[in-house]
């Protein structure tokens, strides 16, 4: 919006302010003339954009005439159909006021009860107010409206941003300022259990699309003024609210600075989801691994904040970003802490096995069958060979075929409505698997391998991290088909090299392992009893290192 580029009028006004009210009025007349001229200009050129810009530049501040203002507002907003304007008489005076709001965004009933009725039913007004519209506006704000008034301004730009966010604007005839009245009522969803991160044990609360609700959910957990919520506006056109949340004194200040620096460098039209922000601010776009975690669970965010991490909340999405993200936290789920430590530890080990199975199981199958049948017991080799009899393809084609089918089924299962999705599961999993074996396209062992891989990949708590392993699985399969075990080892080395080089906001991706922080190993692949976990993770260099006192 080029609204701010109208320096001359500012100058004019400052100059005129010293010359008294009379001149002020003259200037208003002058602005009105210019305004009418430009309106004509628009008619002549058929809404030429250049002239439009010119109009906007002239109309920077409110005039004192109510109808001029309403007309100007309509033009500035390009005649929106959902703009509701209600002109009312202020009770006990001759003033006229207008309440302007966007219909679907603000609570009309609330406005009627708390703003329109009190103003209309007002009986008396002080003499001073009757003469001075600015004083009258003050009276309306203080005595009549019972809703919150966040701002009082004469700048069109501010007025428009409030209006477009769902607040109502009260314009008074004769006053060159307007009241913003907080009446936002955005359509929103109630708090539900997060679909993608369901737990057996743990709170059944998930974030919603409204950032106010989300912040309140966090505030409910951490009742401390140190919970810092730094608002930013993202999107040149969408003007969304984005909040960087951290706990002062725990989160490392250089981490917070880095996050703020990256967020401030963003310049985009619109951020449809926090995933867009994630991709803009992540360290390496080429890496297959996610460097920022997303979650729908307030308890997960709270725990992370208390570890010294930083959260990014974006208005319009229930997915909150958590950073820095490390490879180890990919195996963690909030449930590990809610269950007793043996269960938590064993489940984590199971997930580690799942990671390796997802990555290497089909590749090992290919390598063993094509290069090293001596690696497994002789009887097993014989039974595999017998089951593969009649399969026309080499192991790698067989594996690729089945793995691609699996990915297709998974993708189709997500897109379809829930009841049909289950049908697809049955059709795909049972029928296709069975039929493929019967038809002699793949061997039964291959079906087992594919099924195991699929189950393993879904056992990884973070969905996006699971995807990266599933992607890499295809590369390991291809390298195994060329060089067997040697190929797998070489690829494994490359993955490790990549992981070691990767950083998430300055924190090494393999943090407690390499570089090694022994204190953090207590909460890595194992989860020791909570009574031992008295220190926060050291690798994020938190300000306050102790989170509990030893008994």
């Amino acid at each position: 919006m080029p609204l701010t580029t109208s320096k001359p009028i500012y100058g004019f006004e400052v100059f005129l302010a010293s010359n008294g009210l009379l001149l002020q009025a003259n200037v208003n007349v002058w602005i009105k003339k210019r305004w009418l001229e430009t309106i004509k200009a628009i008619d002549w050129f058929g809404g030429n954009a250049l002239d439009m810009k010119h109009t906007v530049e002239t109309m920077d501040v409110l005039s004192t005439d109510l109808y001029e203002n309403l007309k100007a507002l309509n033009t500035l907003l390009n005649d929106p159909s959902d703009l509701t304007t209600k002109v009312i008489a202020v009770g006990g005076s001759k003033y006229k006021a207008a309440i302007v709001s966007l219909e679907g965004l603000s609570d009309q009933l609330l406005l009627k009860e708390q703003v329109i009725n009190p103003i209309q039913q007002n009986t008396s007004m002080s003499v001073e107010s009757l003469l001075n519209p600015t004083q009258a506006l003050q009276d309306i704000e203080n005595q009549m409206i019972s809703l919150q008034v966040p701002a009082r301004t004469g700048q069109w730009e501010t007025i428009m941003s409030f209006l477009l966010s769902g607040d109502a604007v009260l314009l008074l005839d004769g006053a060159d300022e307007a009241l913003m009245i907080k009446s936002r009522d955005w359509p929103s969803r109630s708090i539900e259990e997060p679909q993608t991160e369901a737990l057996v044990r743990g709170p059944r609360i998930g974030f919603t699309e409204s950032i106010e609700t989300n912040i309140s959910l966090l505030r409910r957990h951490i009742k401390q003024p140190e919970l810092m919520i730094m608002p930013h506006t993202i999107g040149r056109r969408s003007k969304q609210t984005l909040c960087i949340v951290y706990i002062k004194g725990i989160a490392n200040s250089s981490l917070v600075n880095e996050v703020e620096r990256r967020i401030k460098s963003l310049n985009l039209d619109y951020a449809p989801e926090s995933g867009t922000i994630e991709q803009w601010i992540e360290d390496s776009s080429l890496s297959p691994f996610p460097q920022i975690l997303n979650t729908e669970r307030p308890d997960k965010v709270t725990a992370a904040l208390l570890q010294g991490k930083v959260a990014i909340l974006l208005d319009g999405t229930p997915f909150v970003l958590l950073l820095p993200f490390t490879f180890v936290s990919l195996l963690h789920s909030p449930e590990d802490y809610y269950e007793r430590w043996v269960i938590g530890s064993l489940i984590r080990l199971l997930r580690l096995v799942a990671v390796f199975a997802t990555l290497f199981l089909p590749a090992l199958y290919i390598a063993i069958l094509s290069f090293h049948p001596g690696m497994i017991p002789f009887k097993l080799v014989v039974s595999i060979a017998a089951s593969r009899e009649g399969v026309p393809f080499p192991a790698v084609i067989e594996a690729l075929l089945m793995e691609v089918t699996l990915e297709l089924l998974r993708e189709a299962g997500i897109r379809l409505p829930k009841p049909i999705g289950q049908t697809i599961g049955i059709v795909g999993g049972l029928v296709i698997g069975e039929a493929a074996v019967q038809a002699g396209i793949v061997s039964p062992i291959m079906v087992i391998i594919v099924a195991l891989t699929a189950i393993s990949s879904f056992a990884i708590p973070s969905f996006s991290a699971g995807i990266s392993f599933r992607m890499l699985r295809f590369i390991t399969m291809i390298s195994a088909s060329f060089l067997g075990l040697y190929g797998i080892v070489m690829l494994f080395i490359m993955i490790c090299l990549h992981l070691i080089r990767l950083h998430s906001f300055g924190v090494p991706y393999l943090a407690p392992i390499a570089p090694s922080f022994k204190g953090d190993w207590k909460d890595m692949f194992l989860r020791v009893p909570v009574t031992w976990l008295t220190k926060r993770p050291v690798f994020m260099k938190p300000g306050d290192t102790h989170r509990a006192k030893k008994r």
């Binding site: 060089l483 040697y486 070489m490 080395i493 393999l510």
Partner: protein, 367 residues
């Protein structure tokens, strides 16, 4: 503004692991075989310890030299002690040694991998892939390569210990007897061979860039050598206890055969040596990638304007060709011996002399 979360220092643990992993590279496969050629039954342990002692001495000297110049690498050290021309020459020798070392090892890896893992795949192709992964490794920052050891060295030790433990069933004490029957010259000759297996400490002369703490680096370096000495000793004794000295003498790669002997309870895996090979390959990769990285750092200190990636592209084909030059295992062994002698001269004796010069010059090194 510098992000204080980024950690570019080498911790003591990283130094220990780096040194140990650098030493236990290729030598571990053939060590028992070379020792028993000149010693009787299990007497080779004296040679292992003697070699270890010499290595610890030089490790201590190298550590002391590094401590005198915290945060600086070999080229700057020599420039400070002697002058710039000497630094160029010595760094060039060092670089040459590491380049030859890597080319020999690439060849060795491909030969042994082909022997144990493949039937038809040509050695040249295996070596080529190894080289490509090496190139990927050295293209990144050096500190990442050091940290690779943190991941793999513990696994290597675990697998080696597993081989030892799972072989307990096949121990035969009679193989270890008689004790102390070898003549002194034989033991010394074997020691000469074992010393060559301890090459690798010298890497710390270059990775001294990541060590800033004064008076701290020597102890971890010495620990690193000690860990490898203990592992060598353990493996040597176990090999002799399982195979006996006669069989060992006629086995080319006794440790690999030892891994083959392992029988996993439940027979899930027919051949345990695959595990050994996987971790051995990875460990060798770590050794080589660090050596190559140091060589590149060396070249870059001589030609400061050259870009890292162009040095890599220039060096790799050269090393590939050098690695292919020796024909057959015998020539490869001679090649390896010459590189090792060269390495001991360049990387152990010259730094020791340099340390002597530092001590004679006194405090001037710290200016």
């Amino acid at each position: 503004m510098k992000n204080e979360l980024i950690n570019e220092q080498m911790s003591n643990k990283e130094i220990v692991y780096t040194v140990s992993n650098m030493i236990i590279g290729f030598g571990i496969l053939t060590l028992p075989n070379t020792i028993v050629k000149t010693t009787v039954s299990s007497d080779g342990w004296i040679s292992v310890l003697l070699g270890g002692g010499v290595a610890i001495l030089f490790a201590w000297l190298i550590g002391k030299l590094g401590e005198s110049f915290p945060g600086e690498h070999y080229h700057t050290m020599v420039t400070r002690i002697v002058n710039r021309q000497a630094a160029h020459i010595l760094t060039l020798c060092f670089t040459l040694y590491f380049l030859l070392f890597v080319s020999y090892q690439i060849r060795g890896v491909s030969t042994i991998t082909r022997l144990y893992l493949f039937d038809n795949t040509p050695e040249e192709f295996i070596g080529f892939i190894f080289l490509l992964v090496l190139a990927y490794g050295v293209a990144g920052p050096s500190i990442a390569l050091v940290r690779l050891n943190l991941l793999f060295f513990p696994v290597l030790v675990c697998i080696l210990l597993a081989i030892v433990i799972l072989n307990i069933g096949s121990f035969d004490v009679h193989h270890l007897l008689p004790v102390l029957k070898s003549d002194f010259t034989g033991i010394l000759q074997a020691s000469k061979e074992t010393i060559l297996s301890y090459l690798g400490v010298e890497i710390m002369l270059f990775y001294n860039i990541f060590v800033f703490k004064k008076k701290k680096a020597t102890a971890p370096i010495v620990y690193g050598v000690m860990i490898s000495t203990v592992l060598y000793l353990l493996l040597f004794i176990v090999v002799i206890a399982v195979f006996g000295s006669v069989v060992t003498e006629h086995t080319l790669y006794p440790i690999a055969e030892l891994a083959k002997e392992v029988e996993v309870p439940g027979e899930v895996f027919e051949r345990f040596e695959f595990f050994f090979f996987v971790i051995w390959l990875i460990s060798l990769f770590c050794t080589n990638v660090m050596a190559l990285d140091v060589a590149i750092v060396g070249v870059m200190s001589i030609f400061p304007k050259a870009r890292r990636i162009s040095i890599i592209t220039a060096l790799l084909p050269l090393m590939y060709i050098i690695g292919l030059l020796p024909s057959g295992l015998y020539e490869l062994h001679i090649f390896a011996d010459w590189i090792s002698y060269f390495g001991i001269g360049v990387a152990w004796f010259i730094p020791a002399l340099l340390l002597l010069m530092v001590k004679l010059k006194g405090g001037r090194a710290h200016e």
